[in-house]
Amino acid sequence: MEWRKVADQLFPAGHQVRQDGDLLLGEGHCGERIVAVIGTTNHAEVGVELALAMAAAVIEVIRMHPERPILFLVDTSGQRLRHRDEMLGLNGYMAHLAKCVEMARRWDHPIISLVYEQALSGGFLANGMMADVCASLPEAEIRVMGLPAMARVTRISEERLTQLSVSSPVFAPGAKNYLAMGGLDELWEGDLSACLTKALEHVDATDHRRKRGLERGGRLLADSVVKRVLSSA
């Protein structure tokens, strides 16, 4: 869905979200609350500049607007695949962004993310996946790698991967698979504004993903492995 439509539906009471290149910044009105909006569009490739711009926006919210909720609007085709960005330490910029989000959480900002178009690997790790509540539109595309590329790398035929992906959410793309594995908290359908309001009511700062994965049957081992480590001698 186009970001303006998403923003209009999220904030029927009005918003001032603006696009600057691939970057989305602004705020929206959700009931009595003002929500800071930080996002990307155009299936943005996240390079050092974009990661830094998002980090700056997060720091500004922490400094200027105590406890204001932050909503990440996610549309990324992943980290920028350039020699130059790698040379400059793109992983460090992504980590910086992730640290800013974590700091916002520790300063009592509720953090919500909504994948409204695409979310691919590295571009998703540093902001959307750091949220307290990570949501997606059902039609959004979430993945590490498409099945044809995965077939090449793993040398397992695409047919076989397609067949296996029917019964297992573990490698095939798709919001529903991430939901089953606990990587997504919820799918947002219908009244997006109501979804946002509800999410803001039940955020908490604990990472519940492996428990959700277990409850939903998509990721059965992660939770028990962590528990076994915690109870080892």
Partner: protein, 293 residues
């Protein structure tokens, strides 16, 4: 003790770095905690799923450790592998060891269980930051054959300290990934010198992406780890803002550079090509005042 860190596997590293007989493994091989997803794909599993975890001591101080095994699927992170590391970090939040030591050697997410791997890396990132927020320093060592890439390259930079050897490599997208996506003109993955100037230990040290650089020996890594254990720096908003300034300045200063050499020249190295020839001590000495940060 001059054994090479680069040439060693995860268990040999733990053995050499920790105090003698101090290592106690959690979920050891005989616990048979393996990846069910690899079995579904009829791929061989490892009884430790490619990461060795446990507790031990270094210079008498209790530490928790996770060591990735590059020899198993390039150290790639799957569901079990990632959950083991998360377990170590969450246990550190509860038990407050002197430090958590992460010996990272990984290409990132294990594609055969891609979604589980990506979520696991995200959980590792959050758990590293939780450990730091609880006052436990998280020390990352990078010096193995596979480097540290993908999401784990991001996770590494969430830690308190990164120790690298010259042979170590740290980045997000590996050279092969970029070459495949953008062509050999963008990044020639077979040009080892180019790769080294882009993601290698010396470049990362000069750029400020790693904190300590050591020669490729167990003794040197051990010494650097001991020196880093007390760096439980308060993880504050002010520190984060300072990092923001540093990273902003880096883009302004080096954003137009085409090659690591251009950056080094800008940092005051009149003969950047000579950097590769310097041994570690000479390099560290010469880098004083010629390092970003």
């Amino acid at each position: 003790m001059t054994r090479s860190y680069y040439e060693s596997n995860a268990r040999a590293r733990i053995d050499a770095l920790l105090d003698a007989d101090s290592f106690h493994e959690w979920l050891p091989a005989d616990a048979r905690v393996t990846s069910p997803h690899l079995a579904t794909l009829e791929l061989p599993a490892a009884f430790d799923d490619g990461v060795v975890i446990g507790r031990g001591s270094i210079a008498g101080k209790q530490i928790f450790i996770a060591a990735q095994e590059g020899g198993f699927m390039g150290g790639a992170v799957g569901e079990v592998h990632g959950a083991k590391i998360v377990g170590v970090l969450e246990r550190a939040v509860r038990d407050h060891p002197a430090a958590v030591l992460l010996l990272l050697e990984t290409g990132g997410v294990r594609l055969q269980e891609a979604n589980a791997g990506l979520i696991a890396v995200s959980e590792v990132m959050r758990a590293i930051l939780s450990a730091r927020a609880a006052g436990v320093p998280v020390i990352v060592a990078i010096g193995g054959q596979y480097g540290c890439f993908g999401g784990m390259g991001i996770a590494a930079r969430c830690a308190s300290t990164i120790i690298m050897s010259e042979e170590g490599r740290l980045g997000l997208s590996g050279p092969e990934v970029i070459e495949t996506a953008r062509g050999v003109e963008e990044y020639d993955a077979r040009d080892r010198a180019l790769v080294w100037r882009t993601v290698g230990g010396k470049h990362r040290y000069l750029l400020g992406e790693c904190d300590v650089i050591v020669p490729d020996s167990m003794a040197a890594f051990q010494q650097a780890i001991i020196a880093s254990i007390n760096n439980g720096d308060a993880w504050t908003l002010a520190a984060l803002e300072q990092e923001h300034e540093i990273l902003s300045e880096r883009v302004q200063r080096f954003g137009k550079c085409k090659d690591g050499r251009d950056i080094w020249r800008e940092l005051g190295w009149a003969e950047p090509d000579a950097i590769a020839m310097l041994d570690n001590d000479e390099f560290v000495k010469a880098a004083q005042g010629r390092r970003a940060k």
